[in-house]
Symmetry: C2
Subunit: 270 residues, 2 copies
DNA sequence: ATATCTTAATGAACACCGTTCTCCCGGTGA
DNA sequence: TCACCGGGAGAACGGTGTTCATTAAGATAT
């Protein structure tokens, strides 16, 4: 493409059997070296912009201005890349020093910050759901969480399940949040470049739909409609969390009489 | 659609947020009746044989000995097909008549049979996790579940969350089960046509791994290792379920004194 | 300075994927 | 009898993850 001069007889196009020599066009503007970290970073950029469906190796490569195959020198496979993204979610995740008197508040804090991290990247809950934290980098976090439960005095069988239980709850809750968000986006932004959430309108439609159900067949759904499509996801998250915490607390040896003083509603998350 | 579940309440009109399906199945088949039902059936066959990654329109078509494009006369899209599979999971799912005195046992039964259904098809939990039961066919089930919670006397805010909570728990638990199963299969059956689970060997390896962790850094993980990789998934499922049930029970107006007589450990003991 | 080795990036290729389009066959209603 | 039309066939389009041989560039050794 360099020599398209008009005056000189143009070279014929190369015959198919002779290998075309690129003649060193468009090379090397002294770019920063590609690294695993940069690949993961670009993957997050693509994920946030296009969602998990749009997260392809080619898109990541395009984000970096690099060939697709160059990525495989740093990540091994797409699954590998997703696992790196999953692991990176927990970078700098501070785990509490177990304090038996504050264990419920500590779990609350863990769960809320976990949800916050999941919400910080689009479709991140879907990625998290597909992975298990039993890798070398993540085991310390699991240990710290189990420490909270066990030093709180929970029986071993309960403590062992508690970790899975709240982790699954966090992932599942945020995943469902994302599904509603996507649905609302598809609802409002029809093919437009920018799909605005349009959540209030959709919540209204759902309310109307629930209200239109035959009252004799769906009394409870109608009664709870307002709470189910509640616009305050934070509150819903805290309620589910509290249910689990109360269930765990009931296994404390000294909890012969219901929830302790710390098991009330959370003081409204920010 | 011709044979709706007889025992369950009638399906309401489709909600506005669920995508409209062509639903052009009305012609009486004269010859080979390639029907929506047969497509879904073939999809399940492929799913069970090849897993979710191997479930492609082309594979389904091959299963039926038919061209790929023929499928689109009956299902509209792959997402549509997945939703049909998700919906079919609940076919013939009998929901209990709410009985305030047996509500915990009713929830236990619901959860266990839900898990059983999820386990009846490979990777089904992943499909279930990606969907929401607020479609016309599934709303009656949601209603019935909420009925159990509400007639049990749970406050509305709690009952509204309880449905999501245990549904998420069931899906999440089975999804994790499947992940371990896959990992074990990849572990033992290396490329072979038949990947045997080989679970005991992998459980041993995990035990060894946990045991090899530095005791001063991972005391709790080491202490709980045996319970975490327990070979009895049924028991683990029941324990997590019991935690949730106890948490819910704590919101009952008359539960000033901890768990009631029905909230003990599941009958199956270690 | 020259030759060699190493590393990372390239572009083409492969085998798939979901979806759509056109074409054609065969049974049905008039 | 004949036009019609729905359902299946087959090819095609643009996209996917991954692999391969080749090349450009830098470092090292002679």
């Amino acid at each position: 493409m360099t020599d398209a001069a008009a005056g000189t007889p143009a070279s014929p196009p190369p015959s198919p059997w002779e290998r075309e020599r690129p003649a060193r066009v468009h090379v090397a503007p002294a770019r920063t070296p590609l690294s695993r970290e940069r690949v993961v970073e670009a993957a997050f950029a693509v994920l946030d912009r296009q969602g998990l469906e749009g997260l392809s190796m080619r898109q990541v490569a395009a984000e970096l201005g690099v060939a697709v195959s160059a990525l495989y020198a740093h990540v091994g496979s797409k699954d590998d890349l997703l696992e790196l993204m999953y692991t990176r979610l927990y970078d700098g995740f501070e785990m509490p020093e177990p304090d038996p008197r504050r264990w419920q508040e500590q779990v609350r804090e863990y769960a809320r910050s976990g949800r916050r991290r999941l919400l910080s990247h689009r479709d991140m809950a879907r990625i998290s759901m597909a992975h298990v934290p039993f890798t070398a980098e993540l085991l310390p976090h699991v240990e710290a969480l189990l420490a909270v439960f066990r030093t709180a005095g929970l029986p071993d069988r309960i403590a062992a399940e508690a970790g899975d239980l709240i982790s699954t709850y966090i992932d599942g809750f945020v995943l469902e949040e994302g599904m509603w968000r996507d649905r609302a986006a598809r609802h409002g932004g029809d093919g437009s470049s920018l799909a605005r959430p349009d959540w209030p309108e959709m919540a209204d439609e759902m309310q109307n739909y629930f209200a239109s159900l035959p009252p004799e067949d769906f009394p409870h759904l109608r009664a709870l409609a307002g709470l189910i499509v509640s616009d305050s996801s934070d509150e819903r998250f805290d309620i589910g969390l509290e249910i689990i915490l109360r269930g765990l607390a009931s296994y404390l040896p000294d909890s012969a009489a219901g929830p302790d003083q710390d098991a009330g509603r959370a003081p409204d998350a920010t």
